[in-house]
């Protein structure tokens, strides 16, 4: 084995240029694959954080009529008790009870339809990190005469208002009567979805409940799970436990984003697959060329009595060595590339348009160590597969003819 390794090692350096070219192709292929995988993960994680966790949470519970008519009268029966129950449940990280309804927001200049969310400021900070999304102003701390409202940056632009401006919110109370109340803009928040920024305003639940006429009104319960991958299972369990309520997970609530993530997932799997296949064929071609150049030499090995299995192993070993050199170099360079890109961020071309769909225009790729390991194993595995055909060719040579080959 030692001699076989020695011969294989020396063989791969016989045509230094060709070996270096294929190693470079491997390195670039791995970097491309790692970059794609890291981007995919960043897209998934960031979209989750930005679009799902910061805006709609993993699971939401409503009154069955609420979705068709988002009004205060369609509230969750005993909503606060349900919230307490859910808090105790395994697999659930945080629960926020909200009073949500559709209404109108008007400034001195403009008016527009909005969704008004009455929230518990502490619970909301822990579930959607609303406090961290503030780009101007403060998070429900001002003690003004008028109650505070936090609006999206895009809505502020549309209504031509700023922090400190007064706006009027109009909505229905629990009996269906129309209520208008003045609020002062305490802060502007920013998220990746422009539509969300334009459509959603936050006030405190106690202020809103007082206005709609019921202090404990809950129209929406938002849930964050310990593990987001369990969302289908937990939703199913909750639907079985609370059959009278409308319970939806994030993919139900934002199917476009769910579909977009799935498409992105598929595209990137294909991309990584194509890169690895391309590199494998390059490797196959290189090894095959080197076999065809060494017909006489391989014929001698077979003639003097070197068993076919050893010749086969020698060719596979040569390919494995090239793939290990290229693989390890590629993974080390990829590691540093991802670290740099993680600090600087990757601008997605045309990213402004993507924000309308809840996608961030800047992604921060990152990868777990296990991914590097997996990609490394994948590359070596494909390289070994790519070596089988040339190795097979090598051992099918007829020694008597091969030793006289030109």
């Amino acid at each position: 084995m030692k001699t076989l390794t020695k011969i294989s090692w020396r063989n791969i350096w016989r045509n230094r240029t060709r070996t270096l070219i294929i190693i470079t192709a491997l390195v670039l292929g791995i970097m491309g694959g790692v970059f794609s995988a890291a981007l995919r993960l960043a897209a998934e994680e960031q979209q989750f954080e930005d679009a799902i966790e910061n805006m709609i949470s993993h699971i939401q519970i409503h009154h069955p009529e609420f979705l068709a008519n988002p009004e205060a009268r369609h509230r969750i029966p005993d909503g606060m008790d349900l919230k307490q129950e859910l808090t105790q449940r395994d697999g659930i990280k945080t629960v926020s009870a909200r009073t949500v309804m559709d209404g109108m927001a008007a400034s001195a200049n403009m008016n527009t339809g909005v969704r008004i969310k009455g929230v518990d400021k502490k619970a909301e900070a822990s579930i959607t990190k609303l406090d961290e999304l503030i780009v101007e102003g403060t998070y429900f701390t001002e003690d003004w005469r008028l109650p505070s409202v936090i609006i999206g940056r895009a809505l502020a632009r549309e209504l031509l208002v700023d922090v400190g401006s007064r706006i009027v919110l109009t909505f229905q109370d629990i009996d269906g009567g129309i209520i208008s109340a003045s609020f002062r803009v305490e802060a502007l928040y920013a998220v990746t979805s422009r539509r969300f920024e334009e459509r959603t305003v936050f006030v405190t639940a106690n202020v809103l409940n007082e206005l709609v006429g019921e202090n404990t009104a809950v129209t929406e319960i938002a849930i964050l799970l310990d593990n987001v991958d369990d969302y289908r299972e937990v939703t199913k369990e909750l639907r079985e436990t609370y059959p009278g309520l409308e319970i939806r997970h994030w993919a139900d609530m934002d199917p476009a984003l769910h579909y977009a993530l799935e498409v992105l997932d598929q595209l990137l799997i294909w991309l990584v697959g194509i890169i690895i296949l391309g590199v494998s064929f390059g490797l196959l071609n290189t090894i095959l060329m080197s076999i065809l150049e060494r017909v006489r030499e391989l014929g001698v090995l077979l003639a003097v009595g070197m068993k076919r299995i050893r010749v086969f192993a020698m060719v596979v070993l040569e390919t494995t060595m090239i793939s290990i050199i290229g693989g390890v170099t590629g993974l080390i360079l990829s590691f540093f590339m991802i670290r740099i890109l993680n600090n600087r961020g990757v601008n997605i071309p045309g990213g402004e348009g993507l924000e309308d769909f809840g996608f961030s225009a800047v992604l921060y790729p990152s990868l777990d160590t296990v991914f590097y390991f997996e990609i490394g194993v994948l590359v070596i595995l494909f390289a070994i597969l790519a070596s089988i055909y040339p190795a097979w060719k090598a051992i099918r040579l007829a020694p008597a003819e091969s030793v006289r080959a030109e």
Binding site: T3, I7, R10, N11, R14, R296, E297, G299, V300, L301, L302, A303, V304, G305, M306, K307, R308, P399, A400, V403, R404
Partner: protein, 231 residues
């Protein structure tokens, strides 16, 4: 003297071409230990086919090749590999050394495949390179050696593992006169000293003049089998 190879009614027909070619026709020969034999004949007379068949590189269509009491004509291919490794030495026209190995590594190679002890293998490889006058080229790769030197390494490789016999296919064809004589001197000396049976296929009169037995093949059949007294 012990019989090393015995062929009986050896025939070889190539049928994978438009017109079948009878490369060997009922060849009956016996080679004894220590013989120095040249197989001669015009191109296409069957010299190379004969060496391939008695070297276990090709199967005869008919007949037997008995080496050391074993008929290799009926031997399975997997067993033939091992048989060649342990019983037969090869010297090829184009030297055919392994280019990535040094001279000493090339000479050790067959012994290595035979799993001989490392120390013994190294001692023997150095001894053989000394015998062929290349003790100063132990760690030199083939590309840095002249044609004559490469062929001497090839001879050392073939003989180092002490095979029952050595088959040399036109070993001097690519060498100049001086290198060819030098190589023949070495082979003649090793033939005597190591008592190794040497069988050459050749056109080269210089080889024929040194051989103690000359077998002439014509159209795949033995035309003449002459014995000579040489020093």
């Amino acid at each position: 003297m012990k019989t090393v190879i015995k062929t009986s009614d050896l025939s070889k027909v190539y049928t994978n071409i438009a017109v079948p070619v009878h490369a060997l026709k009922n060849v009956n020969l016996e080679f004894r230990e220590g013989e120095f034999t040249a197989i001669v004949g015009p191109s296409g007379s069957g010299k190379t086919t004969f060496l391939n068949v008695i070297g276990g590189l090709d199967k005869p269509t008919d007949g037997h090749v008995v080496i050391d009491g074993v008929d290799i004509a009926t031997m399975k291919e997997s067993k033939l590999f091992d048989f060649r490794l342990r019983h037969i030495g090869f010297v090829f026209q184009a030297y055919n050394l392994i280019p990535v190995l040094t001279a000493v590594e090339n000479v050790s190679f067959i012994m290595l495949l035979q799993n001989q002890p490392k120390k013994e293998m190294e001692r023997r490889a150095k001894e053989m390179l000394e015998q062929v006058g290349l003790s100063d080229k132990l760690d030199v790769r083939p590309s840095k050696l002249s044609g004559g030197q490469q062929q001497r390494v090839a001879v050392a490789r073939a003989l180092a593992s002490r095979p029952d016999f050595v088959l040399a296919d036109e070993p001097t064809a690519n060498l100049d006169t001086e290198s060819a004589f030098n190589l023949l001197d070495i082979m003649a000396r090793l033939n005597k000293e190591e008592n190794i049976t040497l069988i050459f296929s050749t056109h080269d009169q210089r080889v024929i003049d040194r051989a103690r037995r000359v077998i002439t093949l014509v159209d795949g059949a033995v035309d003449k089998d002459e014995h000579f007294e040489r020093d």
